[in-house]
């Protein structure tokens, strides 16, 4: 489904009965000019694969004849019937769909889609001998010829407010570590680091960025970041954390746009298997007041929680009416458990009423139906008594009736929408925060006139551009990552001791999240592959012992099945704390480094618990000893060859993703050679000191 479709679907489901559905824009269609409007789209977006050079799927769209006859009975372009034309169908798929065309890059914009649709509908007119040529434009030419790219415009706006000296561009090693952490969720391996550092090509940064953003770690890294943002470390059991994580991961792998993701979450009831995990957002909170506050904080950047009792005493913009207007959208929803399956849902299952509220200050009373700030209140339809609910057959939730007016679906359609400025600004501010360590509006949930952005014009620009790119998170983050602000060093300019963080004159260091730390510690000590192989190893071991048991049981003349069962039980009981699987490792790190449930992770908190964990957890110390092809084992091999300088180099590459300074090299070699008899111990100690260093702890 496209964005429009999703939107309309939501509206339909919620309000079709009421005929609230806005009349589709009929109007008179203007005639499409093939040469001016269609030709550029085909040349730019289609011909590199379907032209004179390549004919993927045996399709070419550069010649009229070939194009019109292509496909099954010429159904690629069915003049007069765009809906049945394969061309239109394939470009009009949901962007997360496997078959969408073009398969790479940004999907066609709404205008482009509409142009193609109308062109086919109007008869697919194409001058007979007009041959199309692929638009070959070199990247530099494209940039030179068009308006400056978004990241250049961002740079200009940041520059305009800079006073005084600016930090130099981040070195390759810093950039490398930064993009790996942000877009792969871990530091690079020693090998990856070494490869990048020797690479001499001028565009290697952009290339690395693109590789990572399209790599296997991207979905996981983003899922972790968004999970922390959306759940604020809540860990309820109704929807298992792993299901929720997989849901987010696949959303980011498919590059689900921000607005669609938020629509999914806001409309989630848990009944649709595709979006079931999204209902965790509701189930983790439960209380209506908390949900109202958090939806406002996280999706609109407005912490109106104190407006549940009264208008905000100092922020005029945060009113009690806004709070109740938003809450009225939620007031028909309840937690619901299917008695048979025990599964839990959050159903938009009650008709709900207008909400009455009274100011704790003035005692003034008022009422509100569903209403967003600065929008009209939604009229709650009046049904005949007893006709408010319609019978339904819902085997999933076990509900037998549903209200004819479902307000939460309307919220999902109204709140994450292009004309909701607060929604757009909050989105870009939170994405900016993710990469820059600070929001343009800070705190993140304090968007109001008295707390303007550090760069108001930049916030405006970002909000507009994010909308123009259809809330494409990946494309937007890519632009941010290309800015000078993102690529600045965290080293202060010479002679400067303090720089305001909101100037972005220096890269704002931020701590690694619990998840980034877990992955990075496994990566640097080269225990990652071993930990990840745990499920496979377990399965293999179970199979082997199953066979062995069955064999011995047969010998003894016993029933082999009961022997296997007993064996399974034994396997369950035995768990080696020094051989955990990845989820278990994550849990350990979260216990040590994550905030308690309900507390946003928006600033660095020194964690004594984390320091104790890293120093005294036996698993960490175990990982630093030679074992299963890990770093310690690899470097012990080099020690036998007396290659101590090489060891120092490899150690720094593995843990800090850089080569050691001369001073550091000497220090390492001295430490390791002090008593060669205890090399592995000394190596573990030195490696630990690097893991415990501030340089490792921070994304700098």
């Amino acid at each position: 489904m496209t964005r429009e479709d999703t939107f309309i679907q939501l509206l339909k489901e919620a309000a079709a009965i009421l005929l609230l559905l806005p009349a589709l824009q009929a109007g008179e269609e203007t005639q499409i000019d093939f040469v001016k409007q269609v030709k550029p789209i085909l040349e730019k977006r289609c011909l590199s694969c379907h032209g004179s050079e390549k004919q993927k799927g045996k399709l070419r769209l550069d010649l009229k004849g070939a194009a019109m006859e292509a496909g099954n009975k010429g159904n690629v372009i069915l003049a007069g019937n765009s809906e049945e034309s394969a061309l239109f169908q394939r470009i009009n798929l949901d962007r997360t769909h496997d078959d969408i065309m073009p398969p790479k890059g940004v999907p066609l914009s709404e205008t482009e889609l509409e142009t193609i649709r109308a062109w086919i509908a109007q008869g697919a007119k194409w001058p007979d001998d007009l041959v199309l040529k692929p638009a070959v434009q070199k990247v530099e030419e494209a940039q030179a010829s068009s308006v400056p790219s978004l990241h250049e415009r961002i740079d200009a706006l940041i520059r305009a407010r800079l006073k005084g000296k600016v930090a130099p561009v981040a070195s390759d090693k810093d950039f490398l570590r930064r993009v790996y952490l942000d877009f792969a969720g871990t530091i690079p391996s020693a090998k990856e680091a070494a490869t990048f550092l020797v690479d001499k090509s001028p565009d290697k940064r952009t290339k690395l960025l693109d590789t990572l953003m399209n790599g296997p770690g991207y979905g996981r890294a983003m899922a972790n970041a968004f999970s922390v943002m959306l759940l604020e470390r809540r860990v309820g059991k109704d929807i298992p954390g792993e299901e929720w994580h997989r849901y987010l991961e696949s959303a980011f792998e498919g590059n689900k746009p921000w607005d669609v993701l938020m629509q999914d979450i806001l409309a989630a009831e848990g009944t649709d298997p595709r979006t079931r995990p999204a209902v965790k957002f509701y189930l983790e909170r439960g209380q209506l007041t908390l949900l109202t506050s958090d939806i406002s904080r996280l999706m609109l950047g407005r912490d109106i929680s104190c407006a549940q009792c009264h208008d905000h005493p100092s922020i005029k913009d945060y009113t009690q009416a806004e709070f109740y207007g938003l809450m009225a959208y939620l007031s028909g929803s309840r937690r619901h458990q299917n008695k048979a399956t025990k599964k839990v849902y959050y159903l938009d299952g009650h008709l709900g009423k207008k909400l009455e509220f009274k100011s704790a200050f003035t005692q003034k009373k008022a009422m509100s139906g569903p209403k967003l700030a600065h929008r009209a209140e939604i009229r709650i339809p009046v049904f005949q008594r007893g006709r408010e609910y319609a019978p339904v057959v819902d085997h999933v939730s076990g509900m037998k009736t549903r209200p004819k007016f479902q307000r939460r679906k309307l919220l999902a359609a109204h709140l994450p929408s292009v004309d909701n400025e607060a929604f757009r600004k909050n989105a870009v501010n939170r994405l900016w925060f993710m990469l820059m360590g600070r929001g343009l509006v800070q705190p993140l949930d304090q968007h109001h006139p008295k707390n303007p952005a550090s760069h108001p014009e930049l916030l405006e620009l970002l909000a507009a551009e994010f909308q123009a790119m259809n809330f494409d998170i990946k494309e937007f983050l890519r632009e941010l990552a290309l800015t000078q602000s993102y690529q600045r060093s965290s080293l202060l300019p010479e002679g400067v001791s303090d720089v305001p963080p909101e100037s972005y004159a220096v890269f704002n260091m931020r701590p690694l999240s619990a998840e980034q730390l877990a992955w990075s510690v496994m990566q640097s000590t080269e225990n990652l592959a071993w930990v990840q192989s745990k499920p496979k190893r377990e399965a293999a071991a179970a199979k082997a012992s199953e066979r062995a048991k069955a064999k011995s049981a047969k010998k003894a003349g016993k029933d082999p099945k009961s022997a296997v069962k007993k064996n399974e039980k034994e396997a369950e009981v035995k768990e080696d704390p020094l051989d955990p699987d990845a989820p278990k490792v994550l849990e350990l790190f979260r216990k040590a480094y994550a905030n308690p449930p309900g507390e946003a992770e928006v600033q660095y908190n020194p964690s004594t618990v984390g320091a104790l964990f890293l120093g005294n957890e036996k698993l960490i110390l175990h990982w630093l000893k030679p074992h299963q092809k890990n770093m310690a084992e690899r470097l012990a091999g080099l020690a036998k060859q007396k290659k101590f300088e090489k060891i120092a180099d490899e150690l720094y590459l593995a843990v800090l993703s850089r080569h050691p300074l001369d001073e550091e090299k000497v220090e390492t070699v001295d430490y390791l050679k002090k008593d060669e008899m205890r090399f592995t111990d000394a190596l573990a100690e030195y490696a630990w000191s690097l893991l415990a260093s501030t340089e490792f702890r921070m994304n700098h």
């Binding site: 005493p313 100092s314 965290s490 080293l491 202060l492 303090d498 720089v499 220096v506 260091m509 931020r510 701590p511 040590a592 308690p596 507390e599 600033q603 660095y604 908190n605 020194p606 964690s607 004594t608 618990v609 984390g610 320091a611 104790l612 964990f613 120093g615 005294n616 957890e617 036996k618 110390l621 300074l661 001073e663 550091e664 220090e667 430490y671 111990d681 100690e685 030195y686 630990w688 000191s689 690097l690 415990a692 260093s693 501030t694 340089e695 702890r697 921070m698 700098h700």
Partner: protein
């Protein structure tokens, strides 16, 4: 985000890493505490300390510090005489009654917030209204102003039921390092024990390497996060060097018997050990005092849990001499209504409630303030939370007129409407 501690690494000495500090290794002596070198050290240092006993939800003043037996709202319990002539306490606190000569009972608290959600932080922060910033909790404020000695435990430790964590939010705008290290159920973080494979020498060596890396990394970078990270390691080392403090086998049977094995009993005994080891501010929280229903049975059940360890603690601090420097505050976010509701409960009541203070040079055996016969109105001068903070600061020898600097703003440490001590408390 600002951490003002300069270098947090400098006080990590060999002595500390090796855990040579006696700590409370022998702190099990209880009444014989004077023999304990740690306690003796503590007294010699004359460092002022605070113990805040927080009865969360609101202890009823009628069933504790301000009984009104035989009156319309007095409830079923009697009042009993104490060691202070003229001072009567509820019969639910017989042991405390025997220590009353060490206490200053304040019966004239009149505060502003009657909701838990806003009242708890408001009372714990004591902040001037409508400043638009998050004020630090009393513990964080004291931790900041007291400049706790080096080589002691983290300055602000919170013992409560539940999980351990670092509660940075307590610190408000002061920044995370002044937050509370929360020891769930009085237990230290699970990883406080160093594995045997890490010997003292190894620990020393690897920590020294770590500090070397950090010094190199710090050159040319902003201090904030670097200091904060160093601070976390510093605190970790301090905790590790005091591991004995958390060893239950070091407790004497007599202490266990006197304090009780229930939650608040164990937690107050742990608090005593933390104070003996030099913690600047210890908060102990007891939950479930919000008795909207069945107030009397609840207090009948819960007050002995308070009375027994509280009395034992006051007695111990007095006998060891520590009470001279330790300020004890026992309080809630408000009291409970005189009117008994239809569920035999009492509701929230900030209008006229009571608390108890002791130690740190305050007058002992005094009653401050009085309420009318029904306990509805304060007959004497009423005191707001700011007055309590002002009194606490004064007793600790801190400047109650001090100001915080925050983002260019100058903010009074204590509500300017309350710049006055509670009369008759200070000696």
């Amino acid at each position: 985000m600002s951490f003002e501690c300069g270098s947090a690494e400098h006080d990590l000495t060999r002595r500390q890493v090796l855990g040579a500090f006696a700590g409370a290794a022998g702190a099990s002596v209880g009444l014989g505490g004077l023999l304990n070198p740690a306690v003796a050290d503590q007294i010699k240092r004359k460092q002022k300390q605070v113990l805040l006993i927080w009865t969360d939800g609101g202890m009823s003043q009628f069933e504790s510090w301000n009984p009104k037996p035989g009156t319309e709202h007095g409830g079923p319990f009697r009042a009993i005489p104490t060691t202070v002539p003229g001072l009567q306490l509820s019969e639910l606190m017989p042991k405390t009654a025997k220590q009353a000569h060490h206490l200053a009972v304040v019966r004239s608290m009149k505060t502003k917030d009657e909701n838990h959600s806003t009242g708890v932080p408001r009372i714990l922060r004591g902040d001037p209204p409508n400043r638009g910033v998050d004020y630090p909790h009393l513990g964080s404020a004291v931790a900041k102003f007291m400049h706790p000695e080096e080589n002691t435990l983290p300055p602000y430790i919170h013992v409560k039921p539940g999980n351990s964590a670092f509660h940075y939010r307590d610190a408000g705008f002061l920044g995370a390092k002044y937050g509370a290290l929360t020891l769930g159920d009085g237990r230290p973080p699970v990883h406080v024990h160093r594995p045997e494979t890490v010997t003292d020498d190894v620990e020393l060596a690897r920590q020294e390497l770590r500090q070397r890396h950090n010094r190199r990394f710090a050159v040319g970078r902003q201090e904030g996060p670097i200091d904060a990270h160093a601070y976390a390691y510093n605190m970790a080392a301090r905790l590790m060097s005091h591991v004995d403090l958390f060893d239950p086998s070091k407790l004497s049977k007599r202490d266990i018997e006197r304090y009780g094995t229930h939650q608040l009993g164990r937690h107050l005994l742990q608090a005593r050990r933390l104070l003996e080891a030099g913690t600047t501010f210890v908060r102990v929280t007891s939950y479930h005092w919000d008795t909207h229903g069945d107030n009397f049975n609840s207090h009948l059940r819960m007050m002995p849990d308070f009375d027994r360890p509280f009395a034992a603690l006051i007695e111990d601090l007095h006998v060891s001499g520590m009470l001279e420097n330790v300020l004890v505050i026992a309080m809630s976010e408000f009291g409970r209504t005189p009117k008994i509701n239809e569920k035999l409960g009492r509701d929230h009541w900030p209008e006229s409630w009571s608390l108890a203070l002791a130690g740190c040079g305050l007058k002992s055996g005094v009653i401050i303030g009085d309420t009318d016969e029904l306990g509805l109105d304060i007959l004497t001068e009423p005191y707001d939370i700011g007055h309590l903070f002002f009194t606490v600061f004064t007793a600790l020898g801190l400047n109650p007129l001090a100001k915080y600097k925050h983002k260019g703003q100058s903010l009074p440490a204590i509500d300017p409407n309350c710049h006055k001590v509670i009369k008759g408390v200070l000696a």
